[in-house]
């Protein structure tokens, strides 16, 4: 049952990711990425991380992808649709990607470290409560640093996108 759902969501996410890379039109890429994020959040649900699944949908699908579509709307993408898809002389890149993927797959499949079939479960409900206790007790300082980074990014984005004073 779990395996069937996993295969369904995983194949859908791989197909949508390929659509993202191969689509000519950036709008199609953005929609494919949105679908891919939805599949990944379903995989988070399978991993018993419902909070992360909800955050994934809120932040990625709700905020980031809307921002992307907004910027695509602002910018003229007609030229981008017409440009040639893959420029020449990308053989080294393809070789690098194949070597990278083969290396990671070999390392994962041949190692016994990733063969755990059953998760170690000691938790009995109240996962979000425990998660937030850990986050706000042990990881309070990184949390505050992340909020300062978000503030800096907010101010930086406003300054960057502002029109130059004449």
């Amino acid at each position: 049952m779990d395996q069937g759902f996993f295969l369904l969501f995983a194949s859908a996410s791989v197909v949508t990711a390929l659509t993202l890379v191969l689509a000519r039109n950036p709008v199609h890429s953005a929609l494919a990425l949105m679908a891919c994020f939805l599949q990944i959040s379903a995989i988070f649900v399978l991993l018993e991380a419902p909070l992360l699944a909800v955050i994934q949908i809120f932040v990625y699908v709700g905020a980031i992808m809307v921002l992307f579509l907004f910027v695509i709307m602002m910018i003229d993408v007609r030229e981008a649709v017409l440009q040639r898809f893959l420029p020449g002389s990308n053989l080294p890149v393809l070789v690098l990607l194949i070597v990278l993927g083969a290396e990671m797959l070999v390392l994962v499949l041949r190692s016994g470290r990733f063969s755990a079939a059953e998760p170690v479960t000691t938790r009995t409900g109240g996962e979000v409560r425990q998660l937030s206790t850990t986050l706000f007790a042990d990881y309070l300082l990184p949390f505050e640093v992340a909020s300062i980074i978000l503030l800096a990014a907010l101010v930086g984005a406003i300054v960057l996108a502002r029109k130059e004073p004449a």
Partner: protein, 100 residues
Amino acid sequence: MVPLWWYIVLGVVLFVIGAAGVLLRRNILVVLMSLELLLNSVNINFIAFGHYYDDYRGQIFAIFVIAITAAEVAVALGILVALARNKATLKVDEVSMMKG
């Protein structure tokens, strides 16, 4: 149950697809979206390991990755809007204003 390495293999596949998007495509918007895909595939790994070894640190690290990703996208799209205003191009090869 699904064995752990299935999730890891899914992360690897998505990572390679995202890296292909970053390295092969010339459109800045698609490159940025592929970066999102890369970060998401890493998040899958974090949460899978956290689930299988019963550790909350995987989920906490994934939350931080999502927060930093949001900041990165905001700044990157700000730069993109400024770029599109000054130079009418979306190809990464033609953005060489800072090249000495």
